[in-house]
Every structure is written in structure tokens, then in C-alpha cells.
């Protein structure tokens, strides 16, 4: 499974922080995001979140596979 993490407003919209998604051949970050937008239309704003794979910022074309953790990081506001 792929572990998906959502934070801040995204977490609030979804009502939880974590999802499990089935891996599929050739899936990349952008494909995974599109699946989320389709399956969870309440995740408005996810298109502007920065993706991270296994705790490192990742590109849209980064491949994701079984066992990976993919996080969608809304604009940050620490400090």
C-alpha cells in the first residue's frame, strides 16, 4: 500500500490525516494526486500542495510504489 498524508486545511477537509492507496504500475506523484482529486473532491487546494515522498520534497514525475509515504504539504507557515 501507499501511505498518503494530508496536513492543515487538507486534513481538516478530509477529516483525517492519513489514507492508504493501492499501488499501481508506473504511478507517479502527479498520477496519485489526480486519483486523490477524483476520489476525494473535498480536497480542494491539494493541487497547490508540495508533494513529498518518504519525507523529502519530490517532483511531479517521481515514481511512487508499494511501501512509500507520500505527503501533500500546503504552503507552510511556521516560524
Amino acid at each position: 500500500m501507499i501511505r498518503v498524508l494530508l496536513f492543515a486545511e487538507l486534513e481538516e477537509r478530509l477529516g483525517r490525516r492519513e489514507l492508504q492507496l493501492k499501488p499501481e504500475n508506473g504511478l507517479n506523484v502527479e498520477g496519485l494526486r489526480e486519483r486523490l482529486i477524483t476520489d476525494y473532491p473535498e480536497l480542494q487546494g491539494i493541487e497547490n500542495a508540495m508533494p513529498a515522498v518518504n519525507e523529502e520534497y519530490a517532483r511531479a514525475d517521481t515514481k511512487v510504489s508499494d511501501g512509500d509515504t507520500v505527503a501533500f504539504i500546503p504552503p507552510v507557515s511556521g516560524g
Binding site: 523529502e56 504552503p75 511556521g78
Partner: protein, 156 residues
């Protein structure tokens, strides 16, 4: 094992403990930046804040900021602690401490660290005002997105 220099905590931050992590015999200057919860922002009164973080990644990103500083200032020692959870007015949200042999570098590196935190560290602030609450969606603290995330036009 020594306590990590790059930490996310849900407890009150002890400024002295952060400073102690960086002071050493050849530090002549320590610059400390402390971010606190401010009551008034643009005429709006904050009651309290909530910070949340993607903790393991946030700690990695804080450590990365430390690495970036040492790349530019090889003699610098850096420690950063950011608090999460519910914070009241005047509570400390973040403490950055940078020790260097000479003072100009300490100022520059500390300034770099706080700007970089607002760019790359996955921490989010939710403001609670008298009339509602909102996740703050812009890393420069200048714009709040009522919807919690920026609209297309806001980030180009």
C-alpha cells in the same frame, strides 16, 4: 546521546537550552531569533494559535537548514527548536541559535534560518481570532487564505 539540535516539540521551549547547544570555546557571537505569538496583526486580535507539523520531515528540513548554513559559514553551529500544539499570546513558537566566531555571520545565518523555515519546513499555523479561525497559508505571514490554501492566482 546528545539532544538533537533540530527539534519539533509540543512543550514550552527553553531558550537557554537551545543556546547551550551552540555555544563553544571559539564562538564569539551567538545570535538568537525567538518567534513569539503576537496578539495584534493588522488590527486583528489573535486569541491563541495552533501549530501542527509533519514532524519527522520538519526535523529533517530544519537539519537541512543547518547544513545550508554550515556550507556558507563553515564555523557556524546551529540549533533550532520549533514548538507545535496550542500556543497562547507571548508563547515562544521558535528559537534559532547560531554561534559563529564573528558576529556578522551569526546575524546573517540566523536571518537566513528564519526565512528558510517559512519556505521549506512543513509546519502550519492556525490562527484563532475572536471571530473565527483560519490556517495561515502563506509562508511570509502576509496573506491569510480563508479557504486555508492559496488560490491559483496567489502563487505564480
Amino acid at each position: 546521546m546528545t539532544q538533537s539540535r533540530f527539534t519539533i516539540t509540543d512543550e514550552a521551549v527553553d531558550v537557554t537550552a537551545v543556546i547551550d547547544k551552540v555555544t563553544h570555546r571559539n564562538a564569539g557571537a551567538v545570535n538568537t531569533f525567538i518567534g513569539t505569538v503576537r496578539e495584534m496583526t493588522k488590527g486583528k486580535k489573535t486569541l491563541y494559535l495552533k501549530y501542527d507539523a509533519y514532524v519527522p520531515m520538519a526535523e529533517k528540513q530544519l537539519a537541512r537548514i543547518g547544513d545550508e548554513i554550515v556550507r556558507d559559514f563553515p564555523d557556524a553551529e546551529v540549533a533550532i527548536t520549533h514548538r507545535i500544539g496550542e500556543l497562547d499570546i507571548s508563547d515562544i513558537a521558535v528559537v534559532i541559535a547560531v554561534a559563529t566566531p564573528h558576529r556578522a555571520d551569526a546575524f546573517e545565518a540566523s536571518r537566513f534560518a528564519i526565512e528558510r523555515i517559512k519556505e521549506i519546513v512543513p509546519i502550519w499555523k492556525k490562527e484563532h481570532w475572536e471571530d473565527g479561525s483560519s490556517w495561515i497559508g502563506d509562508q511570509r505571514e502576509t496573506t491569510a487564505y480563508p479557504g486555508g490554501s492559496p488560490e491559483k492566482g496567489d502563487i505564480e
